[in-house]
Symmetry: C2
Amino acid sequence: MDLQQIGVQHPIVKRILDIARNTASNRAGLFVAEGLWAHEAVLEAGVPVEVFLWCPEIPHSDQVERLADQLASKAARSYRIGPRTLARIAERDAPDGLVCIAQLPRWDFDALPLGGSALALVADGVEIPGNLGTLIRTLDACRADCLLLTNRRTRLTHPKVLRASQGTSLRVPVADFADPEDALDWLQRNDFTVYLADTDEAVPYRSTRFARRSVLVVGSERYGISKAWYGKGFARVSVPMLGVADSLNVSVCASILLYEARAQLDGW
Amino acid sequence: MDLQQIGVQHPIVKRILDIARNTASNRAGLFVAEGLWAHEAVLEAGVPVEVFLWCPEIPHSDQVERLADQLASKAARSYRIGPRTLARIAERDAPDGLVCIAQLPRWDFDALPLGGSALALVADGVEIPGNLGTLIRTLDACRADCLLLTNRRTRLTHPKVLRASQGTSLRVPVADFADPEDALDWLQRNDFTVYLADTDEAVPYRSTRFARRSVLVVGSERYGISKAWYGKGFARVSVPMLGVADSLNVSVCASILLYEARAQLDGW
C-alpha cells in the first residue's frame, strides 16, 4: 500500500479524538474503531468508512495486513501514521495498527420489516455505555427486532458500546426518540404490547404470557424507568429477587426477560 | 466525633492505595470501600472494619454523619482526614467523605449449609472485575448457594467487584480454588451435577433438566471454559444464539442459565 503519511498535528487526529470523546457535534453518527476485531466488525456490517489510518510499524499478523488492504480500498480517505500518532489516538493497548472513522447504520423505523411476532426493547435513560452495549449484544443473540432509546444518557457512538456489543451495535436496528411519546406512538402504530420491567406490583416473568408483538421497557441504573412510561396501564413484569439486593444489573434483567419472551414467541 | 487527624504522608494512605490497586500482598482479603452506599453495605454485612477515615469538610447529609458515627465506633482504628488526603485516596468522584479498609468474609466451604436442592456457579478464568461483580449480584438475586473461582484472573477485593455486585460480594459465599481439581472434588463430595455453559454440542437450556444439586460452569470472556473442565463427561448447556454474534456476555449467559435452574429447582 502506498499511503500518504500524516502526523500528530494533522486535523484528522483531532477529529478522531473529538469523535471518540464526544467533544464535537456528531450528527452523522460517526464512531472510531480500533484494532483487528473492531475493523472486522466494520467490514462485516458494511458500514461506510470515512477515514482509515494504518500504522504498519506496529508488529502485526498477516490477517491484519490483509484487513488493512481491504480497508484502504473501502475508505473514502486512507493515511499512514507512525507509532507516536497511533499512541496519541489509541484508547486501547493493542490496536494492531488499525484505526478508522466509520458511520453507524441509519435505520428507517417506518420501513422496519416486522413479522407476525416481534420483539423489541426500550432502553429508557440507560447511563453506562457498557450496559447499553451488552443490551445490544443480547438483542442480537435473541434475534430481537429493534432497540428504542428514550431519555438517552449515553451515546451509541461511545467506543465502549461497540466493544461491549461485540460489534452488534452495527447490526441491531436502533432509533433514538427525543420524546418518549414518539417511541410510544411508534410502538402502538405497530401493535406492540408494552411490558415494564419493574419489581413493584409486577407479574413474575415466568407467569407472564407475552403478546405476539412484545416490547420490554428497562430503565436507568439508578432511577429505573422514567415517569413517562407509567400511568398508561402497561403490564409490569419482574424477575424474582430472592436475595438481599433489590435489583439486577439492567442488562442481566433485560436479557432474562428477552429470552423468556423469545422462547414463548418461538415456542421453545 | 473527636478523631485524630492524619495527612497524606501517613502510612495508612499508602496502605489504602496498595489495597485498592493490589500493589502489595493481601492475604487477609482486605478491600477499600468509598462513599455512602459502600459503607452501608459494609455495615449491613457486618464485616470487620480495620480502618475508617472520615473527612467532615466534604459537604454531606445527616445520613452520612450518622453512618460516620457508627463506623468510628465499629472500626479498629479511625482517623480524620482533610479534603486533599481524601482526593489522593478516592477512586470515585463523590465519596461522601467516607473511606474504609474492611475485610471480606471468610467462608468455610466444608461447613456450608446446603439444602436438598442447591445451586452453585463456577467462574473459571473470568477476567473483568465488573463481570465478576455482576455475576455475584445475580447469584444473590437467584439465591444461589455459592461461587467457586478457578483459574482466577481478577480479584474479589477489586473496587469494581464491590460496586458491580452492589455490595453482595460481602454476602455470597465464595471460595478460590488454586487447582480446578480441588473445586471438582468439593462439588462431587457434595453431590453436584456439573453443567458446562458452552454453545458446542450442548443442550439448549430450556430443554435441560437440572439436577437437585446443580452447578454451572462459565469461562473467561476471551477463551471460554478451560480444558480442566472438559473430557469428564459433564453435560453442556447453551443459550441459543440466534443472531450474528457467537456468544453472550458471560454474566448475561450465566444469569439466564442460573434463573432457569432456580425456576426448575423451585418449581416456578
